[in-house]
């Protein structure tokens, strides 16, 4: 199953809230995925098909060589922004 990971500073608040909003968007789109959240320092070894994080972490992601699509959000719980940015990636991966 498609694995989606959300990332924030502490790995339990902003990323978890973001996960809830993604979950709601995926339900609307009818896409099934396994969702999880973590902190920025653990992301290097994380396994995921898509990663979502806040814009403020964009620079810090550069040091990790992640081979999956990464989406940076202005607002982590904005369902419209999530839908807009996630839909093309889901299509690309054949999940939608």
């Amino acid at each position: 199953m498609l694995q989606i990971l959300t990332v924030c500073g502490a790995g339990l608040g902003s990323s978890f809230a973001c996960q809830m909003s993604i979950d709601a968007v995926l339900k609307e789109l009818g896409v099934e995925a396994k969702l999880d959240h973590t902190d920025i320092s653990s992301v290097g070894g994380a396994k995921a098909d898509i990663i979502l994080s806040g814009k403020n972490f964009e620079k810090q992601f550069e040091r990790y060589n992640l081979d999956c699509p990464t989406i940076f959000l202005d607002r982590l719980v904005d369902k419209n922004e999530i839908r807009e940015k996630l839909t093309p990636v889901l299509k690309e991966l054949g999940a939608l």
């Binding site: 339990l12 978890f16 403020n56």
Partner: protein
């Protein structure tokens, strides 16, 4: 569970703060007073935001200050403050008017607090919450119709 819901003890409305740090300390102090966090947890939030950027701003006007439990969280808890004058964070253009601090003991069990916060955003309540003058007004705004 104590601290899990918004009460008169963990809500402070129309607070004056000169900076985001001061606002986080005021909201964080409510967690400390409820026995949910040590003062080190509050300072840990400020340090993490300085180091990692304003990851605690999750929607326009709303920040949810929190950090890792190891910094001194004792129990799950939350507090809500609104600011008389919004505060700015470095790295984000949008002023913050509402702060919901929370403490967590692991990465999952504070889910109800996050659900409440996400629900406030989805119902578009943040601006109204920011304007509330009394606890009763706040309750009226957040109550589910």
């Amino acid at each position: 569970m104590e601290g899990l819901v918004l009460t008169e003890k963990n809500v402070k409305l129309q607070v004056s703060a000169d900076s985001w740090e001061e606002a986080v300390r005021i909201g964080g102090q409510l967690l400390v007073e409820q026995g949910c966090a040590k003062p080190s947890y509050v300072e840990g939030i400020i340090r993490a935001v300085k180091e990692l950027g304003p990851y605690i701003i999750i929607s326009d006007g709303l920040a949810m200050p929190h950090t890792r439990p190891e910094e001194g969280a004792a129990a799950i808890g939350c507090s809500l403050i609104t600011l008389k004058e919004p505060v700015l964070f470095e790295g984000d253009d949008c002023p913050v008017k509402v702060m919901i601090c929370f403490s967590a003991v692991d990465s999952e069990s504070h889910m109800d607090i996050l659900k409440m916060i996400v629900e406030f955003v989805e119902r578009g309540l943040i601006d109204d919450i920011a304007k509330a003058e009394t606890y009763e007004e706040l309750l009226e705004i957040i109550k589910t119709k």
